[in-house]
């Protein structure tokens, strides 16, 4: 839920100044509206919308595998379900680099990714006798549904649950929770395919959400910087500062560092305009005038990813035993944010209309 809080665009006042002195300072620059429109259309359709399509598809795969696990409870089927859960997480965490639009405004994030789990509500549901159907799951609080309760059921408290340990009720609950997650990922997908994709793609030419292309680009840059802030100063820093593994997200699957890495990976996806397919991205606008900025963004991004990947223990352990690696990763992610916020955003404000 955090956005980049401390971003004071140095650029906007500069722009105001520039505008007050000249009618239009964009006439002299080589990037053009056609390229910008192409970039926005590609990002909107082939990155953002494609990611939500992908998440919905992967959630359906997850659902099929937990249904299989329900009927044929073997360790092999459990392993498949776990792998499918992680696959959905890859897409979801990447998409957090463009957490604007309906996902944010419609408050979808808390409904699928609330942490912590309310274990009292969760256990009550598990030990109760209500039929575990859609209506029942819908009535549950956010903190008892979504990714993490599913994660808990698949992995168990210590991450070493076996198929033999599943109760019938747990399996039913798992299926019902996954059905609910599937419905919500469909909602997310639909909000994009039913109009928000056009809002972003047609920025500056008919979009009611973005009256200029610049506004859309700034929104994208804010999303990129925002996820850095969330990772470095929230998701990582809070458990780290408190030295409390209990504050870690995704602890059961030991997936936190992978989550963070995918968050940061999403930044490159939208920057390069490349999700499943490769198309025009922000990089094409940057490269038109400033190759060194392009290099800086890519090298800082690579440094952030490398620093995250250097954390080899599960995050809950790493905050206690690999502190310099964790600190280094937070620093590198903040460095990347600094460039996005301090250089990329002003660049986009200057070179787009």
């Amino acid at each position: 839920m955090k956005t980049s809080k401390k971003t004071i665009a140095l650029a906007l006042p500069l722009m105001l100044a520039a505008f007050s002195c000249s009618k239009n300072n964009n006439d002299n620059n080589p990037t053009n509206n056609t390229l910008q429109a192409e970039v926005l259309a590609n990002i909107s359709n082939n990155v953002c919308t494609a990611s939500y399509e992908d998440m919905y598809a992967k959630t359906q795969t997850l659902l099929a595998s937990v249904q299989t696990l329900n009927t044929t409870t073997t360790d092999a089927n459990l392993a498949t379900a776990r792998a499918n859960w992680k696959a959905v997480r890859v897409t979801w965490e990447q998409s957090e680099a463009w957490l604007f639009g309906p996902v944010e405004a419609d408050n979808i994030d808390p409904r699928i990714d609330t942490w912590p789990i309310d274990f009292n509500a969760f256990n009550n549901a598990l030990t109760g006798t209500d039929e575990l159907n859609d209506a029942f799951i819908n009535k549950l609080d956010d903190a008892a549904k979504g990714f993490h309760p599913i994660e808990f059921l698949l992995w168990g408290q210590n991450g070493n649950k076996t198929a033999a340990q599943f109760t019938t009720r747990e399996k039913q609950f798992l299926v019902a929770l996954t059905q609910n997650l599937t419905a919500l990922t469909k909602d997310v997908r639909d909000t994009w395919t039913n109009g928000y994709n056009k809002q972003l793609a047609t920025a500056g030419s008919g979009s009611t959400e973005f009256s200029t292309q610049t506004l859309a680009f700034v929104q994208i840059a804010d999303g990129m910087a925002g996820i850095c802030d969330e990772v470095a100063n929230g998701k990582m820093k809070e458990p780290f500062d408190a030295q409390d593994p209990g504050k870690e997200e995704s602890p059961f699957a030991k997936n936190s560092t992978i989550d963070f890495t995918n968050n940061i990976q999403g930044i490159l996806a939208i920057y390069q305009g490349r999700f499943a397919t490769d198309g025009k991205g922000i990089e094409d606008i940057v490269r038109a005038n400033n190759l060194s900025l392009d290099t800086e963004i890519k090298s800082k991004h690579a440094a952030a990813i490398a620093a995250l990947q250097a954390i080899d223990k599960p995050f809950g352990e790493a905050i206690l035993t690999e502190q310099s690696k964790v600190q280094n990763a937070m620093t590198k992610v903040n460095d990347l944010a600094e460039t996005i916020d301090g250089k990329l955003k002003p660049y986009l404000q200057q070179y787009t209309k």
Partner: protein, 464 residues
């Protein structure tokens, strides 16, 4: 993402000078600083017009205070769960939502529920006629002063409210049609009998940015604008609400909330924790359910659930959220709209300029020229908008002038344009046309405007 404040400020100063330098002399109007109008929050204005526009910290916080703001941010968005739990315990037993941020989404305005949906971003104040010992509304036996629409597993929620709307068509003087929807509220699923004379007031979650600046306005500055008996005969009264300060145990000026029924931010935050989430604090150490069947008194060694430091961090977070910069200030349509806003008289209550008082403890809010478009006073808004539920000195038809700063970004940040205390207005023009009472003359002037003028007026409000 830490910024060097000095650099920002110095660039700013240079920019101001630049702008000043290249402006045509004849376009200068006699104001102190031609750029101040852009800066709704004075030096604490955030330059973001995207979906995160309401979520920026003050720009010039030193690193230690910035960290407190960050901790408060995490706390504001922390999901509470039922006790016992290792992280964020204490939810309920009855509540409206699980975190501050789940009503004040992106620090902005709550959305009204669609047909058949439960109210997630709004709440219902309750009372029975009369006055409590501090002039406060009298709580409803068995319900308190707020309807909690959710409960923990095994507990009964107090009930819920069904909202239905009645559409009525109207015409502007030029013949253009418009329609207003009037809400009707009906209780459902009540856990016990509700007295027949209950008074109910719907309240949408309000934006939370800029509140530290509003709190920094001197009481005298606010009272200067008060004219409860309309001695100047302009048809506009402006009344201060006088409310109960729980900490100082005194009656003081009310500033926050739709009826200005909270004296300060700390009490506002603590009351919301208590009433909305079921979290007790040193200011409100009793559960909202105490005395009701949902209450189970698990004795707590600390006496209350949220530590003082976390409460203060949340308080500091909302106190230090910056105000978004205005857009399109010099656009000719916006300029025309501003003139219409002024000539129609809207500006009499939605005051453009306020100056905060001197505060040496938080220099960021000290002595700032801000543009909140509110006088923070109560006004009679007519029977159409009335909730008929007095709240301290605020009568049944009276509401506090809502700040308009940032209002044009509601769609961008919150994905909707529902305005007024209960979100009944579906766009800014509907909100204007709901005005009555003291605002009737201003509304009539808008009614008589041409389509072009009305468009200009809306463009102006959207630029705020």
């Amino acid at each position: 993402m830490r910024k060097t404040t000095l650099a920002v400020l110095s660039i700013f100063v240079v920019v101001m000078l630049l702008q000043f330098a290249c402006r045509k002399v004849d376009s200068l109007t006699p104001v102190d600083n031609p750029d101040s109008e852009w800066l709704s929050g004075g030096s604490q204005t955030a330059f973001d017009q995207g979906s995160g526009a309401f979520s920026h910290a003050f720009s010039s916080l030193p690193a230690n205070l910035e960290r407190i703001h960050e901790i408060g941010d995490a706390q504001f968005n922390a999901t509470f769960v039922s006790a016992p739990a290792p992280l964020n315990p204490g939810l309920g037993p009855i509540f409206n939502n699980v975190s501050c941020g789940s009503c004040h989404v992106s620090d902005g305005r709550g959305k009204v529920p669609g047909l058949g949906e439960s109210a997630a971003n709004m709440l219902f104040r309750l009372s029975i006629p009369g006055e409590g010992e501090h002039g406060n509304p009298v709580p409803v036996p068995g319900y308190g002063d707020q309807l909690q629409t959710r409960a923990l597993f095994g507990k009964q929620r107090e009930g819920d409210v069904t909202i239905t709307y009645t559409e009525t068509g109207y015409k502007f003087a030029d013949g253009t049609s418009y329609s207003l929807r009037a809400p009707t509220y009906t209780f459902n699923s009540l856990y016990m009998t509700m007295p027949g004379n209950v008074l109910l007031s719907p309240r949408v979650a309000a934006p939370v940015f800029g509140l530290g600046l509003l709190e920094a306005i001197d009481e005298n500055t606010i009272l200067t604008n008060a004219d409860p008996d309309d001695k100047d005969g302009d048809g506009i009264s402006g009344k201060a609400n006088i409310v109960w300060d729980v900490y100082s145990q005194k009656k003081v000026l009310g500033r926050f909330g739709w009826k200005a029924n909270q004296p300060n931010l700390l009490q506002q935050v603590a009351a919301a924790y208590n009433g909305d989430i079921g979290i007790t604090t040193f200011l409100f150490p009793k559960e909202s359910s105490e005395g009701q069947t949902q209450f189970d008194s698990a004795p707590n060694s600390k006496g209350y659930e949220l530590s003082d430091s976390l409460l203060y961090s949340t308080h500091f977070y909302v106190r230090t959220l910056a105000v978004p910069v205005r857009r399109n200030v010099t656009d000719s349509k916006v300029v025309e709209g501003k003139a219409l806003f002024t000539s129609a008289g809207c500006i009499k209550c939605h005051k453009a300029d306020m100056r905060t008082g001197v505060d040496v403890t938080l220099p960021q809010v000290s002595n700032q020229l801000i543009h909140p478009y509110t006088d923070l006073l109560l006004h009679d808004m007519g029977t159409g908008l009335a909730d008929n539920r007095p709240d301290f000195l605020a009568g049944g038809t009276e509401w506090r002038t809502a700040p308009l700063w940032g209002i044009g970004l509601t769609q961008k940040v919150n994905g909707h344009t529902n305005f007024l205390h209960d979100g009944r207005a579906r766009n800014l023009m509907e909100a204007i046309m709901w005005h009555g009472g003291e605002a009737l003359s201003a509304k009539n002037k808008v009614n008589n405007m041409s389509q072009k003028q009305r468009d200009a007026l809306i463009s102006f409000v959207e630029s705020l």
